[in-house]
């Protein structure tokens, strides 16, 4: 992962894609969100979603999964170059999460992240606070997911 100083407002990264199979949708839903339209094809078709739809929390969790994997790839590359590796801190939360279209069984969602704002932490000077808009787009280039996330990112000076 990158240090605060290596990041600039407007930077965009593609973090990877994920295909939501019917099995994966039902498995997540059975555990965390067993609403009928997340568990059964016929119920999904009869719902506003028009098909077996992934839980929104499944979509958010998969976005996190791909963000972490992308960060770990970057960390590996930095380590291979002999550079110090940045370990990101936790997130205090997010705003404006939109499940703008359903993610249906078989859909492949590409996720990307774009840096929106950056500031240094007053209370913790070794950390920067980054805001990024994360997006998910389906195979028809329709936006299905977005949120404005905040995270603590370590500064190189620390």
């Amino acid at each position: 992962m990158r240090f605060f100083e290596d990041i600039a407002i407007g930077q965009r990264r593609e973090v990877g894609s994920f295909t939501f199979t019917a099995d994966a949708i039902k498995k997540f839903a059975a555990q965390f969100d067993p609403q009928r339209f997340h568990l059964d094809e016929e119920e999904g078709r009869k719902s506003l979603f028009g098909g077996l739809a992934a839980s929104g929390w499944h979509v958010g969790s998969v976005c996190m999964k791909l963000m972490v994997a992308d960060g770990q790839r970057q960390a590996k590359e930095a380590a291979a170059r002999g550079e110090k590796v940045a370990i990101w801190g936790p997130s205090p939360g997010f705003r404006e999460l939109r499940w703008s279209k359903p993610v249906l069984a078989g859909d492949t969602i590409r996720f990307a992240s774009e840096v929106v704002s950056m500031r240094t932490s007053e209370k913790r000077p070794e950390w920067g606070i980054l805001q990024a808009r994360n997006f998910g787009t389906n195979q028809r280039d329709e936006l299905v997911y977005s949120l404005l996330a905040t995270a603590f990112v370590p500064r190189r000076t620390s």
């Binding site: 997540f28 555990q31 965390f32 969100d33 067993p34 609403q35 339209f37 719902s47 506003l48 979603f49 739809a53 839980s55 929104g56 929390w57 958010g60 969790s61 998969v62 996190m64 999964k65 972490v68 770990q72 370990i87 990101w88 801190g89 936790p90 997130s91 205090p92 939360g93 997010f94 705003r95 404006e96 999460l97 939109r98 499940w99 703008s100 913790r124 950390w127 949120l147 603590f152």
Partner: protein, 154 residues
């Protein structure tokens, strides 16, 4: 009976829980969706800002969803949610915590585009057994209005 839009007037709705979160489920969720050292590795976690092993924030969100489902969404004529206005992770969820969920209706209004439905905006808060607030969020859910002919939801 299925709950419909009319069953969610603004104000306090209900409290649900407690729900125990085990170490095994914290590690399993983190391994699949959020394999950062602070969620997986005791030693690395103790050196992190959160000073000890903590669950992924997305795990907490998913557990809160399940608590809402078990509490009332499972018997509500819910059509899904368009999103979350704001969600804050205020304190870490630790393995072994017992979660309690407080649910309030912040706003309830009839949908203009789909007048047979209403939009209920929930404000939810989750705390541990010590009473420490771990997260709060505000999210609208689309709910069927009661059918004036039958009195049933949707």
């Amino acid at each position: 009976m299925t709950l419909s839009f009319e069953d969610f007037p603004p104000g306090r709705f209900a409290t649900f829980g407690p729900r125990r979160v085990t170490r095994e489920e914290v590690l399993a969720f983190a391994a699949e969706y959020d394999p950062q050292p602070m969620h997986l590795d005791e030693e690395a976690a103790s050196r992190s800002m959160l000073k000890g092993l903590s669950a992924s924030g997305w795990h907490l969100c998913s557990i809160m969803m399940r608590m809402m489902f078990d509490g009332f969404i499972g018997r509500t004529a819910s059509l899904g949610s368009p999103g979350v206005n704001e969600l804050r992770w205020l304190a870490p969820l630790r393995p072994g915590d017992d979660l309690t969920l407080d649910v309030e209706v912040a706003e309830a209004r009839v949908s203009k585009s789909r007048p047979e439905t209403g939009i209920v905006t929930f404000k939810c808060s989750v705390r541990n057994a010590a009473g420490q607030q771990l997260s709060e969020w505000v999210s609208p859910i689309i709910v069927h209005r009661r059918d004036p002919m039958t009195g049933q939801a949707g």
